[in-house]
């Protein structure tokens, strides 16, 4: 059972996750583009001179959050910045990308700081939701997604820490992750023995399982805001 589950999580589920992520986002955009437009426009004033710059500035600095709640804004920026870096850090594991390789693996993952940052941010978001009025407007989706993210981050951080603090008995060497990810990319999946035989194998599978779930759910939950924010913010600038 465990063998089947771990194989499923490491190979087919990863393919399913990435296919769902990419095709799902494409599908979501097709649905929007096939919907009718509006005859006029829906601007809000005043408008910046450069609409593109204004849009990017708004998407990346979240002024609405800055005005609304400084602590929330702080954790939002922290979370999204850390998320982006962690994503890039994983790309470095997935293939031979020279630009990303120029930064050592340990540094790219923030020497452990990114995991802590993400974890603390997610806990903040979770506790914020438990307070009025956010509790009243929250639905199951909000909590489940935060919990999925939290577990992904938690197990990822455990894996990273084993590597970082030289827990040789537990450590899965970076090279083996690279072998594994590259084999998936080459469509010739391999499960290196250093991964499968490590006492941390179960942690690895759990990390991957929750990460896969996050990717699968991405296009079909509110996480789509990461893609929809740009066209949505352009509506009020037309």
């Amino acid at each position: 059972m465990w063998e089947f589950f771990s194989y499923f999580v490491m190979v087919p589920m990863v393919y399913i996750a990435f296919a769902t992520l990419i095709l799902g986002i494409i599908f979501k955009f097709i649905v929007v583009y096939r919907s009718p437009g509006i005859p006029g426009r829906l601007p809000v004033f005043p408008m910046e001179k450069s609409k593109t710059l204004g849009l990017l500035k708004e998407a990346f600095t979240i002024p609405a959050a800055f005005r609304g709640s400084k602590p929330f804004w702080f954790f939002l920026v922290l979370f999204h910045a850390a998320f982006t870096l962690v994503f890039l850090g994983h790309l470095e594991l997935a293939g031979d990308i020279p630009v990303l390789r120029s930064i050592p693996h340990e540094v790219f993952l923030g020497a452990g700081a990114l995991g802590v940052t993400l974890g603390v941010s997610v806990i903040y978001f979770l506790f914020r939701r438990l307070h009025t009025p956010h509790r009243e407007i929250s639905v199951m989706e909000d909590y489940v997604l935060l919990l999925l993210l939290f577990f992904t981050i938690l197990f990822g951080s455990i894996l990273h820490m084993a590597d970082r603090y030289g827990m040789t008995a537990l450590n899965i060497p970076v090279g083996d992750y690279r072998v594994y990810f590259s084999s998936l990319l080459a469509l010739k999946p391999r499960m290196p023995v250093m991964i499968t035989a490590s006492p941390h194998f179960i942690i690895f599978i759990l990390h991957l399982f929750f990460a896969n779930l996050v990717l699968i759910m991405f296009p079909f939950t509110k996480m789509i805001h990461a893609a929809f924010i740009f066209p949505a913010l352009s509506i009020k600038r037309k």
Partner: protein, 415 residues
């Protein structure tokens, strides 16, 4: 709900799933940053009076019928059936929203709750529970558009009486032609409201500026938009568009009415004429030296209320301020102001409904703003706003005077 009726409801939702709506329905993270941004929740603390609370009433219905989670795991997004309770919630959500779009400023994604309320409104129409007042008013406006020939003579005789008032104010030798009608190729087609004030004051200003203008047979207000019926909205708006095309005017000038300005200016697509607010036109006359105002004529402290559809949603911020700075000795700005200004609570057709107690409560932030300025005169440039500001004034027993901008301009023209 019977299957046939439910199908009609689903079709009504589908009909409103435009590109912006698709984005707005899917990307809300329920972060709650908009929660306090609505003037209604400032006065009445109820989740459904927050932008996200309002929008979620619609989204939960949308999820039920248009998302797999709504079918297989309704609790995932608290998807809800369209039953009588939900219809009541939709009514409460849609007709407590003025469409002021202040929440757009407070949403990290710029979600327009007013637009989402469009779905609630078509569902109410489909269900036969849309507000009677708005149904009647919009039907009357549509009827007038269909049989305008029958209205013309009666309207002309009313205008004849108003011409005398304009003549008296300007000391003209004859009242004849001071309010021209059906004048071909005029520079301006002016679209007024039903009240005499909205015709007389602008007519005084046009005559003082020696403008080549003509008066529309139609009133600018669009009850189809307030009701949330896209077809009626278009029909009502097109009455004026067609009139302007037939007369061959260069510019259509809209009375002090925010929605009446926003619809032709932004919501109908490209038009073969320019659309201007009367406020912008007065400002232009002043810049060109075509009219002159008595400087500092208003001695009491004056403040200006930005109508949401004219300011935040129309971009007319500077013009009324520059006019008032000439007229007022002591001009005071509200806080917050301009694009962050609090809605007065009267827009979206709400002043036409029987809801005065609600509007007094939801007008609390506006009341607080006015009091904080210490102003004795509150000026605005939208009939809905003026009516609601009057409700706030009497509801909270404020020692202020509420005035139309055109009215004080017409009163203080140097002639």
């Amino acid at each position: 709900m019977e299957p046939e009726k439910l199908q009609g409801m689903k079709d009504a939702i589908r009909g409103r799933l435009t590109k912006p709506m698709r984005y707005y329905l899917d990307l809300c993270t329920r972060c709650g940053l908009c929660y306090e941004s609505c003037h209604v929740i400032q006065g009445i603390h109820k989740r459904e009076y927050s932008p996200v609370g309002r929008a979620e009433v619609v989204r939960k219905v949308f999820r039920k019928y248009f998302r797999p989670s709504g079918k297989f795991l309704p609790s995932w997004g608290e998807a809800t059936d369209l039953d009588d309770r939900v219809m009541d919630e939709l009514l409460d959500a849609a007709f407590s929203c003025t469409g002021c779009r202040r929440c757009v400023m407070h949403c990290p994604f710029g979600i327009d709750t007013g637009l989402i309320m469009g779905i609630a409104k078509v569902l109410l129409i489909e269900n036969g529970t849309a507000p009677e007042e708005l149904l009647m008013l919009s039907d009357a406006a549509v009827e007038k558009g269909k049989s305008i020939a029958e209205f013309k003579d009666g309207y002309r005789s009313v205008i004849y009486d108003l011409e005398k008032q304009v003549q008296e104010r300007l000391g003209l030798p004859s009242p004849e032609g001071v309010i021209p009608m059906e004048k071909k190729n005029a520079n301006i087609l002016y679209v007024a409201l039903a009240g005499a004030r909205s015709i007389v004051n602008p007519a005084i200003i046009f005559n003082a500026a020696k403008e080549d203008w003509t008066l529309s047979f139609f009133e600018a207000v669009n009850f189809g938009q307030f009701l949330g019926d896209p077809e009626k909205m278009k029909f009502i708006a097109n009455r004026v568009v067609n009139e302007a095309k037939e007369l061959g005017v260069k510019e259509v000038v809209i009375v002090e009415c925010g929605t009446a300005y926003r619809i032709p200016k932004f919501m109908l697509g490209p038009l073969p004429f320019k659309v201007t607010s009367i406020v912008e036109l007065i400002h232009r006359y002043l810049k060109e030296g075509r009219i002159k105002l008595k400087e500092g004529a208003l001695t009491a402290p004056v403040t200006y209320h930005d109508p949401c559809q004219l300011g935040r949603n129309g971009g007319v911020f500077e013009e009324p301020r520059e006019i008032l700075q000439i007229l007022a000795k002591d001009y005071r700005e509200m806080s917050p102001t301009r694009e962050f200004n609090w809605c007065c609570g009267g827009g979206g057709g709400l002043v036409a409904l029987d809801n005065e107690n609600f509007r007094i409560k939801s007008g609390k932030p506006k009341r607080d703003q006015i009091v904080a300025t210490g102003a004795k005169v509150v000026v605005s440039a939208c009939e809905n706003c003026i009516s609601q500001l009057e409700t706030i004034r009497s509801g909270y027993d404020l020692d202020v005077e509420v005035r139309y901008l055109t009215e004080i301009v017409a009163e203080n023209l140097v002639v």
